[in-house]
Amino acid sequence: MSTFLGMPARPPRSPYGTGNLRGDEPFPRAAHQELGNAQLRRNLGRATTTIRAKRLNATGELPDWEALREAGSAIKTDALNRLPELLEQLERKVTEHGGTVHWARDGAEANEIVTRLVRATGSGEVIKVKSMATQEIGLNEHLEAAGITPYETDLAELIVQLAHDRPSHILVPAIHRNRDEIRQIFLDRIPGVDPELDNVPAHLAAAARAYLREKFMTAKVAVSGANFGVAETGTLAVVESEGNGRMCLTLPETLITVMGIEKVLPRYRDLEVFLQLLPRSSTGERMNPYTSLWTGVTPGDGPQDFHLVLLDNGRTAALADTVGRAALNCIRCSACLNVCPVYERTGGHAYGSTYPGPIGAVLTPQLAGMDAAADDPNSSLPYASSLCGACFDACPVKIDIPSLLVELRHQHTEQTGTTAEKLAMKAAAAVMKRPTLYAGAQKAAGLGRALAGRDGTISRLPPPFGGWSDSRDTAAPPRQTFRAWYASAEGRATLRAAADEHDRGPDEHTPDQGEGGMRRRDGEHAPGQGEGGTE
């Protein structure tokens, strides 16, 4: 018998080669293709601009918006700090109310559990509520391989599914498509659709409705995700706009819910906070049209057989990491995607994961790792950001995404062996910490003037700066550094003249305040929108 000593083993990440948490190529290469697609850029630009404006309206009209963000962040942090206890409470409550709880270590286990449960009903098809968790584990692909047909019922998910496409956004999976494209997809893929179908949104919705109604009325099994699971009562919640979710949650005999373990909330009343934060952040609405809550099984009403699959798939591993733990606060509202200038240009596919955009760049490497091979596509994700910080300002639960990205970059460089970049960084630091070497390097940089053309600009730079000079000119380095000027007779004379100007008289350059004491900067205030807007 072996004796257990020391630290418990680190919990596993989502296994390699399963699910949808890893693309085929690094972000810059994947983005390259999307950047060349003008239609995609237009579709995305239009959609994100609209949602951004709506969100600012919806959040701006709540006087206690900042307090709500604080509350949301605090509740999530508390929940994650006592995750084991809350999950066991949730299991107890769901079971008490006639449901069955299953624990899935990873996507493969969750897929098997769901497949087994569907098979047990004898049904060959399931209808689905839009769900990130089942996207993440690739449930649809798994069910199809097992001979079970999944039907997505969310309009956007349906479009993506019919087009054999991948979702491009966590809330608006078909954000990269416009009306004409959608019309064509329906004409090609919906059996018996009216060939005269035009691109009017209401007509497109009607075509989808006719197709889906039949599924709702006949399906025996539904698979859903969950936005929240309340430990106190065993209640699950799905928040949606179309009502398709509610049909799935109420009509079939069997309901299987796959929920990431980080979605648990301690108390029923916590929903008050999140049902304000979520719709305002995601769609810019005061309230989402449909909020469905269910607790186990209610005899004679709704599904009579309810299963909850609690999915880990790398979440415990993320929880063990400071970056990961902060990222698990995410409520998948997609506000950070909608304000991200990188996402706006590349779309979601470039991230290679179910979770694109700023939070995806943090969450994906946390759930699935980025440490295996040097060219693991996930290791390019922390760099897929200019660190502009728009995501942090938008996040309703105050996740400091830019800092997390910087932290992940550090983790990445600490894990990789020696690279050319690492050597260059070490060399640069060695020069920069010695002012004399540094001044020498500045002189050497000055030699770059030789590269400049007659107009004083450099239009081609050597590698690794080629990507820079493809689209930007560079000014020739100046003859004199600042420190050389400052030390020169000319520098001293100029500064003396400026000081004299001050002494001569206050008429032209009156300081607003004298030197009497420094005013405190009102710096560290809470992030908010519109503080730095233009005049």
């Binding site: 983005a31 990188v342 502009c388 728009a390 910490k433 930007r472 400052y486 000081a499 032209e508």
Partner: protein, 253 residues
């Protein structure tokens, strides 16, 4: 007031005009400008690219160079470097430094200002610049430092300036340091949208509080042969009737 000037590595080496303007401006406002000669770089490039061990000596140097109690404020003409000093130095010191370094970093961070913060919150300024100008609020000034509308308040107070609003001002120009190299394609796409915004303003000058972002935007403007030039905020604020040469000296890039 005795003010420590941090030139920033980029400013010292490639954009000395902006640093010079900062020094002249402060001297003209009656302050003593000191330039600790041992200064080099704040380490932001390292930290943002994922390296936190390498810049430890840089962080330590910075704290030492500007730690002197006789220096009442530290100023730099760069929002991103000020952001790094105020927010990231503590991260590095917490991870790899000792108690002395952590204390030193905290002391210096508390008296560190980006130029517009120092001018608005502490000093006040007057200037003359009779040109059409548009302002790009760089991301680190806007969101990491939260300088808010201070640069605009300063610009509005400039005599004879024609200040025009930049459409989409608060979206990132796509610079992001090594991001512009690692994701050149995406960076270019972001740049082009920024250039299009600038074009609609008809401004002679696009200004900002960071030479690095201006290097990127200016490089793009030059490549498309735009008539608009870039000029660091410090140079506009340092311009007076007696020295109206800032624009003519403005580099095309």
């Amino acid at each position: 007031m005795r003010i420590g000037l941090f030139a920033t590595c980029l400013g010292d080496t490639l954009f000395p005009d902006a640093v010079r303007a900062t020094a002249v401006l402060l001297a003209r406002l009656g302050h003593e400008v000191v330039f600790p000669p041992g200064q080099t770089c704040c380490g932001q490039m390292h930290i943002n690219t994922g390296y936190q061990r390498e810049p430890v000596p840089l962080v330590r140097d910075f704290a030492e160079q500007f730690g002197d109690a006789s220096i009442e404020a530290v100023v730099m003409p760069s929002g991103s470097c000020a952001g790094s000093v105020r927010h990231q130095h503590a991260t590095v010191a917490d991870r790899y430094g000792d108690a002395a370094l952590r204390a030193g970093v905290a002391t210096v961070a508390a008296k560190t200002y980006e130029l517009s913060e120092l001018l608005v919150d502490v000093l006040g300024v007057g200037a003359y610049f009779p040109h059409r100008v548009t302002y790009h609020p760089t991301c680190h000034s806007l969101r990491m430092l939260r300088v808010g509308d201070r640069p605009l308040r300063l610009l509005r107070a400039v005599d004879s300036i024609d200040l025009v609003e930049l459409p989409g001002a608060d979206s990132c120009c796509g610079f992001g340091g090594t991001f512009a190299l690692k994701n050149a394609g995406t960076s270019t796409a972001m740049l082009h949208d920024k250039l299009a915004g600038i074009a609609t303003t008809g401004a002679e000058v696009c200004t900002a509080g960071d030479s690095s972002c201006l290097m990127h935007i200016g490089g793009g403007l030059s490549r498309i042969r735009s008539g608009t030039r870039t000029l660091h905020l410090a140079r506009i604020l340092a311009a007076t009737r007696a020295t109206p040469d800032a624009l003519t000296e403005a580099t095309a890039v």
